[in-house]
């Protein structure tokens, strides 16, 4: 399906502000993972994407982030197709399930990475990193090697790192999946409030309905189908 001839892309998605996904299908290794998935996320909204593990939630996020090219369908931002925009120019942040902090950089080096590659001068970068670390409740830990952090701390660093790059949309891929229940709920609320106060829209993937209700304004369910996962909402 070519993007320009997809009726929904033209008639409905084009009008949306924020993220639009229309008719996205993905096959990986010969298996259809996503089948004709469409959704949209308004610029001030937090959406939870709920579904059993292995259903293709992560793949959908990777399509939006630009890390996976879909076989069909379009991804739009404020109505314009961003399918050809490479991941590093999309300004869409992604927080992985297990943080994926750069092992060769300390906490501040991780948080400041996006500013670093954007060429932000060092003085400015430092104060921004400090501000972000404070925001995620890790003030003063900038010098720590990342392998000394607890699971919760590592996720906070990953969040600060993603926010530092000034994303227009943040994707969270089961960011607290590896943490225990109490911590997961507390961090979930913290992150929701933080993103709301910063005005950053978010897509929050989880397989836990309770967590989904807690962190999002709207919950969408990705359900497995005979020909890959489909969205219900």
């Amino acid at each position: 399906m070519s993007p320009s001839t997809d009726p929904r892309a033209v008639s409905s998605q084009a009008a949306f502000q924020g993220l639009g996904v229309a008719g996205v299908s993905v096959s990986l290794g010969g298996r259809r993972v996503l089948d004709d998935v469409s959704l949209h996320v308004a610029p001030d909204e937090a959406v939870a994407l709920l579904g059993p593990s292995g259903v293709g939630k992560s793949t959908l996020l990777r399509v939006v982030a630009g890390l996976v090219t879909p076989d069909a369908g379009v991804v739009t931002w404020d109505g314009s197709d961003i399918g050809d925009v490479p991941a590093h120019r999309r300004r869409i942040g992604l927080v992985f399930q297990d943080a994926v902090l750069f092992p060769h950089r300390d906490v501040a080096g991780n948080v400041g990475y996006g500013l670093d590659v954007a060429g932000v001068p060092e003085v400015e970068r430092r104060s921004e990193v400090d501000r972000l670390l404070e925001l995620v409740d890790l003030a003063g830990l900038g010098e720590r090697p990342v392998d000394t952090l607890s699971g919760g701390q590592a996720q906070r660093v990953a969040l600060a790192r993603a926010l530092a790059a000034r994303p227009r949309l943040l994707l969270l891929d089961e960011p607290f999946g590896a943490l225990d229940r109490d911590l997961r709920d507390r961090l979930g609320v913290e992150v929701r409030d933080l993103l709301r106060s910063l005005g950053v829209p978010a897509v929050h993937v989880t397989h836990d309905a309770g967590e989904a209700a807690l962190v999002a304004d709207r919950v969408l369910a990705l359900v497995p189908g005979a020909h890959g996962a489909r969205l219900e909402g």
Partner: protein, 559 residues
């Protein structure tokens, strides 16, 4: 380290054995041995005595020979330091070039998926397992005569030979480097070049350094290639040691050069290990390896193209060798093959064919020694409560010492009464076994360590004595691994050149030594025979390796 060994996993086992000395831990090793030790000491005596007599004692002899007026003269002479300078310079250049050629291939082989990937990988790995004298003969056949004795010829052959080291060491690491680090960087605004500079390269650097260290050591101690392709001004320490011993009979001078070279190797190992430790990043490696993807981007296509061209180029020297064995004057013929069975003018010049018989019989004796000593050593290391690691390191030393030094040491220790073994046929296989034993240990040890100790306990509860339970439980598992080790030992023995050059009797040269002799003589009749005999050596080595790979079970010998 003139490691003349046969294809496939032989090479990889050599690399794995050497990785320790250079201080690289690329893949996580298995758990603690769960062996209920029977009697490690019973097995320990044989390897300790063997290494002591045939490695440690010769080294002491070399050291004491070097400490003489003549030795000091050589140490202080300008000519010596010019050779040290050239040896270092060509090793540095070889290393840089091999990395430049090998890194794109390491990436393409491990990160990209394409048709014929296995074939390309096999092609790129084969050179490393060719006997070095065959590498020399191939490039003699390939390159125009104007290249004889030039630095360029040596460099090209070294790149050809060591490409597999970079592909194996760096590629093996790259395959397990979690690609989500790169993806995280991309979502944070880093373009392809920035991702490479800020994420991939810093994480990959320790593996690149490890590969560079190995290539530097291999080329610093390169013997066969330089002996065949080098000239009067392009000579390395290894070749100079040989020249002083065989042509000038300057044993104290040669001994001093051995010491000089071992010191240099030791310094390189220490520096590389330090640097490595400083650069190593604790990171989670992807256990199953990162999925390979099709080459879609322009950069991927370019790197894949470069790799395919390299694989094609790698085949050229071997094709040139086959061609040279059939090219007679301006036409084609089997003249050189027929000449192999004709005796030379003097009684010492036996027909070249005879060297095949000599090589095969040495290989048999080497296999017997290496399997007995290596098997005993593996048992001793596996069962030992303490001292196992020390024995393991001691056994790896001959592999880390240059083959020329091993050969020279054996020569000056056992070629004089009352231990004159030079006349006997045993000294050559002993030299080969020193190189082969670490490989046998590497093959057998993982199998022993993976064995469930409860089996032995079951045997004991069923009334088996310790000896009986070892024979009925351990030995059957061991025998297959020992078979693989035997194949490795045979491949080593068939291709070994550095040590054999010192030890072979004039009237009983091995295949590599005979090839070396033919190459040293002028004229088409000699170079043609050398090419034909090289083809024979490649075929025989390939057979040993194919048999070995057939015997291999998953898990044996892979570290």
């Amino acid at each position: 380290m003139d490691r003349d060994v046969g294809p496939g996993d032989v090479a990889l086992t050599v690399l794995d054995s050497l990785r320790g000395p250079v201080g690289v831990q690329v893949t996580p090793t298995g758990g603690q041995p769960r062996i209920q030790p029977p009697r490690g000491r019973v097995f320990g005596w044989l390897p300790v005595i063997f290494i002591g007599v045939f490695f440690a004692w010769p080294l002491v002899t070399v050291l004491s020979r070097s400490l003489s007026a003549r030795g000091v003269d050589v140490l202080l002479s300008g000519a010596t330091w010019r050779i040290v300078g050239f040896t270092t310079m060509q090793a540095v250049l070889s290393t840089v070039l091999t990395l430049a050629v090998g890194l794109p291939a390491a990436y393409a082989m491990q990160r990209l998926n394409f048709r014929g990937r296995r074939l390309v990988l096999a092609l790129l790995t084969v050179p490393f397992v060719l006997p070095t004298v065959v590498v020399g003969a191939s490039f003699r056949a390939l390159l125009p005569t104007a290249w004889d004795g030039t630095l360029a010829a040596i460099l090209v052959a070294h790149v050809f030979f060591n490409l597999a080291v970079v592909i194996r060491v760096v590629g093996g690491f790259w395959a397990h480097l979690d690609d989500r680090y790169e993806q995280a960087a991309r979502t944070l605004g880093a373009g392809p070049i920035t991702v490479w500079r800020t994420v991939t390269w810093p994480l990959l650097r320790p593996a690149v350094l490890a590969a560079a260290g190995l290539v530097f050591l291999f080329t610093f101690t390169s013997f066969g290639v330089v002996l065949v392709l080098g000239g009067p001004t392009t000579t390395t320490l290894e070749v100079e040691i040989y020249r002083r011993t065989v042509q000038l009979f300057d044993l104290p001078g040669a001994a001093m050069l051995c010491i000089l070279q071992m010191s240099a190797v030791l310094i390189v190992i220490v520096v590389a290990t330090r640097l490595q430790r400083r650069l190593t990043v604790r990171q989670r490696l992807s256990r199953s390896g990162v999925a390979r993807r099709p080459a879609r981007s322009t950069a991927d296509r370019l790197l894949l193209g470069v790799t395919l061209v390299e694989a094609g180029l790698v085949a050229l020297p071997l094709l040139a060798l086959a061609r040279a064995s059939l090219r007679v004057g301006d036409g084609w013929g089997l003249d050189w093959w027929r000449a192999l069975s004709v005796d030379g003018p003097s009684t010492r010049d036996v027909a070249a064919w005879q060297s095949l018989r000599v090589s095969l019989s040495y290989a048999v004796v080497t296999v017997l020694i290496a399997v007995a000593v290596g098997g005993a050593a593996a048992c001793a290391i596996a069962y030992a409560r303490r001292g196992g690691d020390a024995l393991d390191s001691a056994l790896t030393l001959p592999l880390g010492t240059s083959a020329v030094t091993v050969g020279f040491g054996l020569l000056i220790t056992f070629a004089v009464p009352p231990f004159d073994l030079r006349g006997s046929a045993i000294i050559v296989p002993i030299g080969h076994a020193l190189v082969a034993i670490p490989l046998v240990v590497r093959t057998v040890l993982p199998v022993l360590r993976a064995m469930d100790p409860r089996l032995r306990e079951v045997a004991a509860t069923l009334g088996a004595s310790p000896g009986r339970s070892w024979r009925s439980v351990d030995l059957p598992v061991l025998s297959r691994a020992l078979g693989v080790g035997a194949g490795f030992a045979a491949a080593v023995s068939l291709g070994e050149f550095g040590a054999t050059s010192f030890l072979a009797r004039a009237d009983a040269p091995t295949l590599p030594v005979q090839i070396g002799r033919l190459l040293a003589r002028p004229g088409e009749v000699n170079s043609g025979q050398a090419a034909a005999l090289s083809v024979v050596l490649v075929v025989v080595t390939a057979l040993a390796v194919i048999v070995t790979e057939r015997l291999r079970t998953p898990g044996s010998g892979s570290l």
